[in-house]
């Protein structure tokens, strides 16, 4: 049994050391840690009272100045305060949706790879369907019809999680089938190991590194999805997120006012975080996929 676990663990240790040497991955990680700290200590960095339209006292839609380094919006709120606090919702939704997506993808991927016949085939069809159906129209429809009693923030998390698991599931299924062909699984079966034992003790530890590499890429997709849904007006109207700031900028005619700071700064925040996740994901992929060995 330990034979199945050890290689995965050894791989993980080596992978971490190689990640530390990977310039692209490390610079991505540094950016992520910085944004993570900003999100955690948001209330210390900027007074949350500055988010309320009624308490804002700045000049209306003013360009960056000493007192308002990133400018202000139509209500006179400091964009710096909004971007700092917006990081909380954007990162929370991105990470929570990714957790849902990963759990669903791993569960469905392993099950459809392990069982042949109706169950595996059916789940595989479902995965293919979700792969083909364009995610944004599906997310829009889901967000529109979501039970109105559920808080909007949770609804958005579930919608993004449910629409983004299929890529992971396909990856995990292929990996599961490759692992199941190996002799130690035959040994486990011969010794009377049940389905549950095979899947959790043998398949799962070997699939995990792949899932982890995939996670970082999924987070970046989830954050793009969050900002896009907020931009289309489907986000939580009561909470500030980067997508929500941009939605407000667009609907309050930031373009006609020429208020470039109102769009540029939240936009830079989105791109920095998404790019950082993508960089980490690409680095992990390079390290964990032996096929890419030797490529920078």
């Amino acid at each position: 049994m330990s034979a199945a676990v050890v290689p995965a663990r050894r791989l993980r240790g080596g992978a971490w050391r190689r990640f530390l040497r990977d310039r692209e991955g490390m610079s991505g990680l540094v950016v992520l840690v910085l944004f993570g700290l900003v999100a955690i200590f948001a209330s210390l960095l900027a007074d949350p009272a500055g988010l309320e339209v009624t308490k804002a006292d700045g000049p209306l839609a003013a360009p960056p100045s000493g007192a308002y380094p990133l400018g202000t919006d139509h209500a006179g709120r400091s964009l710096l305060t909004m971007v700092i606090h917006g990081s909380q919702v954007t990162l929370l939704v991105g990470l929570a949706a990714t957790v849902i997506s990963m759990v669903l993808g791993t569960l469905i991927g392993i099950t459809s790879g392990h069982f042949s016949g109706m169950l595996g085939g059916g789940l595989n069809r479902l995965t293919e369907w979700f792969l083909v159906i364009p995610y944004l129209p599906l997310a829009i429809v889901l967000a529109t019809v979501f039970p109105p009693d559920v808080p909007k923030l949770i609804a958005v998390i579930i919608v993004i999680g449910v629409t983004s698991w299929s890529g992971t599931a396909r990856l995990v299924r292929a990996q599961t089938m490759a692992i199941e062909a190996r002799p130690y699984l035959e040994r486990a079966r011969a010794l009377g190991g049940g389905h549950w034992h095979q899947m959790t003790r043998h398949v799962l530890p070997n699939v995990m590194p792949l899932v982890l590499a995939n996670t970082t890429l999924t987070v970046s997709l989830a954050i793009i999805a969050e900002t896009t849904l907020s931009f289309l007006g489907l986000g939580d109207p009561l909470r500030v997120s980067w997508g929500r700031i941009l939605d407000e900028a667009y609907s309050q005619a930031a373009i006609d006012r020429g208020a470039w700071w109102w769009i540029l700064f939240p936009g830079i925040a989105v791109v920095l975080v998404v790019r950082a996740f993508n960089m980490c994901g690409r680095a992990l992929e390079r390290i964990l996929d032996p096929r890419l060995e030797g490529k920078p």
Binding site: L142, I255, G258, L264
Partner: protein, 337 residues
Amino acid sequence: MTGSGGGAGAVTRRPRRTPPAAYVLRKCLAAVLMLVFVVIVNFFLFRVLPGDPAKAFAPRGRNADPEALRELRERLGLNDSWDVAFVKYVKSVFSGDLGVSFSQHAKVTDVIMERFWPTVLLSGTALVIAAMLGVWLGARAGWRQGSRFDRVSSSAAVTFYSMPEWLLGLVLLVFLNRYGIFPTRGMNDPRSTLPAWLDVLWHMVLPVTVLAIVYVAEYSLIMRSSILDERRADYLTTARAKGLRDDLVLRRHALPNALLPSMTLFFLSMGFVVAGAITVETVFSWPGLGRLTYDALRGPDIPLLQGLFLVFSAGVIVMNLVADLLMPVLDPRVRAA
């Protein structure tokens, strides 16, 4: 399923140009099944999830007046039991009737047809430009892997790939708006003195640029990794040993082989293209299906949203089917598999 096994056997015996009938049939059947599933999902999502759909979708929420609510119930078929309503719905979908739009007071099919071609024009143009540029950039970057060109273009590609399309559109608009060189809204301008086609072309410049930049980013990354996979292949060493110039080895030998797997991925990224179309059309007020989706969300205009989801899904499913049928014709390796 047994028929497909026989079809695959026929292929290995003697390579043919056209895919075997069983393969075509199987792929078409899978596509039809997916469409049927879309129709089913489309019905149940709107009927089951919101609890009481009439209340959830009424224009004024819980304070809607009872008369309007009664009419909404009638139109959504909430007065029938769900199985009767489902049969009614399936029948009307297959006879091409998607109901009447709440906000436009016209048939959903007519509204969608009217907006269909602008979307095809915009996304199609951007796609063609992006595919050509992406292949060129990705192939050059992958061929000279680690060169300055590769580093700059890959880093730019990852940046644009990390950017939602609409964000790029907004940034471009807010900086270009004050100069007023390119039109920023709509597809044509009634006051324009230009010929109609030139006016449309002029309006297309900005949205197509935005879409093309983001698609190029995606396609060049796909193409680059495809060339990297191909680069050390034996047949390329042979080509070099023959004394072929380096760019000829790339153009005549590596590129055609790397292009094929990329083509599959290009087609698979259609969902990504749809997302781009929806958001970029919104930003530029382009009168296509994307802007229509944004407007339908305001109501929400349920029959229109249902119709749009059906059309977007059907479009992507058909594109995937085309890819599945085209690949064996283009690529002998797929034919043999």
